[in-house]
Amino acid sequence: MSEEYGHGSGNVDDRCCDITYSSKGVKRVMLEVGRANNASAVLVVGGGVAGMHASLTLAEAGVNVFLVDSSPTCGGLVTLLDRTFPTASCGVCNMAISEQAYCPMIEVSRHPLITLMTDSRVKSVQGEAGNFTVAVGQKGEYVRRALCDSCGKCEAVCPVEVDVPAHTGMLPHKAIYRPGHRSLPGVFVLDDSACDRCGKCVEACPRGAINLDAKPCDVEVSVSAVIAGPGLGHYDPLTRKEYGYGCTENVITGLELERLLSPSGPTGGRLIRGPGCRIPRRIAFVQCIGSRDRAGEVPYCSAVCCMYAIKEAMKLKELMPDAVVKVFFIDIRACGKGFEEYYEKAKGLGVEFVPCRVSCVEPGNEHVYVSVETDGAVSREEFDLAVLSTGFTPPDGIDELSQALGIEKGLFGYLGSDVTGFSPVATEREGIYVCGGGVEPQDIPTAIMWSGACAFHALKDVLTTAGSPCAREATPMPKPGPIEIADDVESDEREPDEERIGVFVCRCKPSMDGLDIDKIVKWAKEQDQVVTAMEIPDMCMDRGVEALLAGIKQDPVDKVIIAGCSPRDVALLVEEGLQEVGIKKGFLEVANIREQCAWPHMDDESATEKALDLVAMAIEQTRHGKPLTQKARPIPEGALVIGGGIAGMRAAKALADLGHKVSLVEKAPVLGGRACSVKRSLSGMDVQALVNKLSEEVRQDPLIEVHVSSEVSRISRVDGGFRATIQSREAGSQTPRGESECGVVILATGGTEAEPPKAFTGQVVSGVVTQTEFEAELDQAGLRLEDLPGEIRTVVMIQCAGSRDAERPHCSRVCCLQALKNAIRMKTCRPETEVYILHRDMRAPGFYELFYEQAREMGVVFIRYPENAVPQLLPGDSGKPVLVEVYDEGLGELLHIPADFAVLSVGVEGSGDADLASGLGIDFDSQGFYTEANIKARPTDFLTPGVYVCGTARAPTAVREALISAEAAAVRAAVRLRRGVEHSRENTSNVRARLCRGCGICVEVCPYDARSLDEDLRVAVVDEFRCQGCGACQVACPGGAAEHLGFEALRLLAALDVAFS
């Protein structure tokens, strides 16, 4: 097979293509498609979270994608993580609707339109937007993927050990190795720079998969756009000697701890140190190692270290509730959605947080000593383990990449030319977009949104190149699976106990060598109803599938059992072929005798016995198998965008750019939302110009219908889309502007500045304003503060006024940035003004740190106050209207500051609307922010397909982030509209009406809002298109009326019965 494909395609992953197109060898064809039809291809560099998301989104939109990663596998940094904050779960495998990814890595490897090119680097990009020619250099395919089955014999004989820097969390490995348990493609790879070509692995490989003479090759692809989503580099703690890294094994990095805590890590998830396998009981986390260092390599904030430290600290406390876990920090920057609440939870678990600067970590024999500077005094504390929260740098190879892409590097050597501006994903070269950690250190949801924004721009380029941005005709859609629109399935065929069953056992050499395949085949032949049982050479190869189909043709059967590897793989491989020979969907049962028998019970004879049991269970299950069907319904064209602020306008325009009709509804008489009252952004950009530009764009676009002074008075889910009534808000107007249907809804309803809490408004009448009011005063003065009324000498800003407390637990994120903006502005215009910012943590993540630094340099005084000592506003004396009383945590003193202005940063509240939410089948949290499908992996989507969110409707956002999220939401919406048809799953839930008493428990437990009660008949009904086959209803229903097709109780009980016999 690899010979057949070998030339010129090197490491293009043929596994994914083989899987999808089974017997037809599509991989080669695909590359040709990419070349011939250059209008519909995009190249994505970097296979981490950002690159995978961009690739999947584009592929779902019908665009060919070449996904290039310089490492031997895709997945990036995420594959090293045990859990992710703030849900402490592997975010990618949550119960998410498979509209996109169940697990992005698996989806990427499977998708027919994605060509995965690992061990590859972009060498050059010629041409211009819409017509790029990209040269990709690929390493030789030393281990042929089509042949390797990861048996590991090569690694066992390899004599070469390769060292890797420990701080990256990676472990030493052999020259031939498997890069990680979750790596994709899941095969062994050769480190060609370390390999001494001794040839032992070639001899050891039972399948002849290794070719040490493989040559690197170049591939050229033609694409319309390029997305660069490189990952992050790791700051090397060895450069900071004072933290003791490298001197003792008791100082490690956060990533090393992550690996230690991971079940797939070097210790199997046990936290042990040293030869004595000591378990550390006192653990210190030291924050900002490398980061926020003005003089050093990383002057910015690395943005995610606070959160990963909190996550790891919590895990330690969960594992060892008695352990002492202290986090030494400068500011805890928990300012993403749900992060503050996560931080509070950590405190609740007993993790101690100490604000200070750590001056050094000294190694002892069995301990380490952490020296802490607070208020000039230094104290020293003993720990068993110190964890350095090391920051991030631009990734290795960023210079080569920027050269190859022909773009300049931006801030601090990262990619991007306008990262802090209003077109953050753009570069100076049109058609090339940037996202991911290689642009600015960022967390997963941020990376997903940035890459979504890139996908939008790339899709727009693809459509523009194709000639017309007319959405549905532009690009041929991938062929959907065969659809049976089924009503009642008549089984006019054999009685269940007369059906003919065929058992096919995959030989899969040498994986199955531990099993007695002949015995299994012989045994299977003797079972009731089994009319044919045979061995198949390799089901994952063309010849295997051919042998299977030939076997079925020769001796026709009704139902098929395959004993082989994981059902996930097998089913995809053979599905299409089986349907061609007349096997219905649902009539295939897979017994996984490789992962469940051959592998875990190697050298154990009972493995065959277990395999027999699994096959027996499969036979029993298939006896009860019923045909499964899938339904399809059209998705209406058109989009409804609710909210005409920055995010809403951008989303509307983005959708129109992709060729979709949009209704944009804004309740105010003018477009712009909250941005109307903002003159400039923190980075000095002109926000009003942006508002004017956006509103001009949406008003000019013929595809956008703008409804100002309007609201959506009613909305409901109908068939594949939504029906909404748009009502004028103008006085006296009762008639609706019309009822319309649309296929997608984007919520961009923003938020509002919260009311100042009573504690601040009671005693003092004048001189107390909110941050937004203060900004308005500055704006009115037209930046010439001489015009400000009265004598302003002292301004005191109070952060978290009414945020981050029991009543409003979330962090509003933007208030710190707004305070910095106004403080810098004040200081710029009137340097002699004293500006104080009283805060609990200054939250200026990522490159925003620079503005914090700037403010400090300009002489803004930052005073940290503790959570339980909120500053007090007292009536002023000595001619100042306000006296601010604050306890300075750093000094340990109570201060009194007479002020002309006390400026309250009051935070932002969401705009959650109960009617809207219930009409759309979505939720919002206690602060009014809409609850997305998955806080990590799907920040712009909801569990209700077709509804998307952007801007502050999801979480408080600055202008730049609002723009990014708007584009990210728009492209997700466009994917759905372009698909134009919605498929139900095959194995949905079903109601056995005769048994149903209409108690409604299933309705309550359904996470997808797919069940409801028929009020007349008093039974539950299922919307098959919403149902995702999770089975919650079947568990909840006591009467057996809720039935999960394919997993009927009868069938499972029967299989269990066999298992125990």
Binding site: E318, V1005, G1039, G1040, D1057, S1061
Partner: protein
């Protein structure tokens, strides 16, 4: 809470309360009234009365027997919202079961006037038939001996409660009107001219406190003993306890909160084919038939234990006298405690199943 006193005359408290209930029906507060009656000596059934005279003459509101948990027939009667209003005189455990059925959408609470009545306990129905005129010498059922809820739950329904614990005939019966009771209904009852009963309410409260203390102790001892008998034997102990089960499902029919149309164990899921039954028999050497009796009870426990109101009807219904009450109510007490759920307390408390949150699985 508006407290009033119904005086008890020479004809006794049953007639006094009967008169009150009849009045309520007569004055049109309700269009029908469900009350326990004695159609033949020693036998108590529920009657849905339209004629007030039937109540006056035959109501047996104090009968110390519970042939059926009244929640079942009442729920069936109001499975759809009735046109007029229906009143029902129910014991505490019946009311609590009815609340669970309302939550499970098996009964409509609208247009239902629940009249709760204190209950110190009930006796075995066969013994009652023999000795109903001298019921005082009979022992309470186990479920009643350890019942922690001798008075109707306050906030379950906006209705009327009849209190008599700690009150003798001389002091009369206490009528308490819920603050949420329909003002129209409250007005009619207030106009009947009963005296204020606040003093009586105090007297009843102190009697209840004493009773509660006794019951708490009895409850602890009873279930400690029951657990001790089972513990150490694991599922084997449970299997032994249930050995005599014939699979008749009487317990689930008698259970007021078992609401399935057809028990899953009677349906096709457990319709084993002959070859399967033979296979199992062969495996073990022999197979108890009808099978799945242990699994049936465990499944029923799994389905219903959170809503179990510990009325003990399951045990009464068992034709082979299996001591089901300690097992089911014991497990229910613990599962309910774990999820801090009190079945029948209020219609507002959501069924734990419907409020499940992922973080509940996190270690505590």
């Amino acid at each position: 809470m508006n407290n009033l006193v119904i005086p008890v005359g020479e004809e006794g408290r049953a007639r006094a309360l009967g008169e009150f209930l009849a009045k309520v029906l007569e004055l049109g507060v309700v269009d029908a009234m469900v009350v326990p009656v004695m159609p033949v000596p020693g036998v108590i059934t529920y009657l849905m009365a339209k004629d007030p005279e039937l109540i006056r003459k035959r109501a047996e509101p104090f009968a110390r027997v519970m042939p059926v948990n009244g929640a079942s027939p009442v729920a069936r009667a109001v499975s759809k919202k009735p046109r007029g209003r229906i009143g029902a005189l129910l014991k505490p455990c019946e009311i609590r079961a009815l609340v669970e059925l309302v939550k499970l959408k098996q009964a409509e609470a609208d247009n239902l006037l629940v009249i709760g009545i204190d209950c110190v306990g009930t006796v075995d129905r066969d013994e009652y038939k023999e000795a109903y005129s001298d019921v005082g010498r009979l022992q309470f059922r186990d479920a009643c001996k350890v019942c922690l809820n001798p008075c109707p739950p306050d906030i379950a329904f906006p209705g009327i409660n009849i209190g008599h614990i700690g009150l003798d005939d001389e002091s009369g019966l206490l009528v308490s009107l819920s603050p949420e009771l329909d003002p129209g209904i409250a007005g009619v009852i207030e106009e009947l001219g009963f005296e204020n009963g606040d003093a009586l309410a105090g007297k009843r409260q102190s009697a209840l406190a004493t009773l509660k203390e006794e019951r708490d102790k009895a409850y602890r001892e009873f279930f400690e003993k029951a657990r001790a008998e089972l513990d150490g034997e694991g599922i084997g102990g449970v299997a032994k306890l249930l050995a005599a089960c014939t699979g008749c499902r009487n317990c689930r029919v008698a259970c007021p909160v078992c609401y399935c149309r057809e028990c899953i164990f009677d349906g096709d899921v457990f319709d084993y084919e002959t070859r399967q039954i033979l296979g199992r028999a062969g495996r073990k050497g022999g197979l108890k038939i009808p099978g799945e009796t242990l699994l049936y009870h465990l499944t029923r426990m799994n389905h219903m234990s959170l809503s179990c109101v510990a009325c003990g009807m399951c045990e009464d219904a068992c034709p082979v006298n299996i001591k089901l009450f300690p097992l089911f109510a014991g497990v229910a007490g613990r599962t309910q405690g774990l999820l801090q759920y009190v079945p029948g307390r209020s219609q507002e408390d959501q069924l734990p199943f419907t409020t499940f949150r992922e973080e509940e699985l996190e270690p505590r």
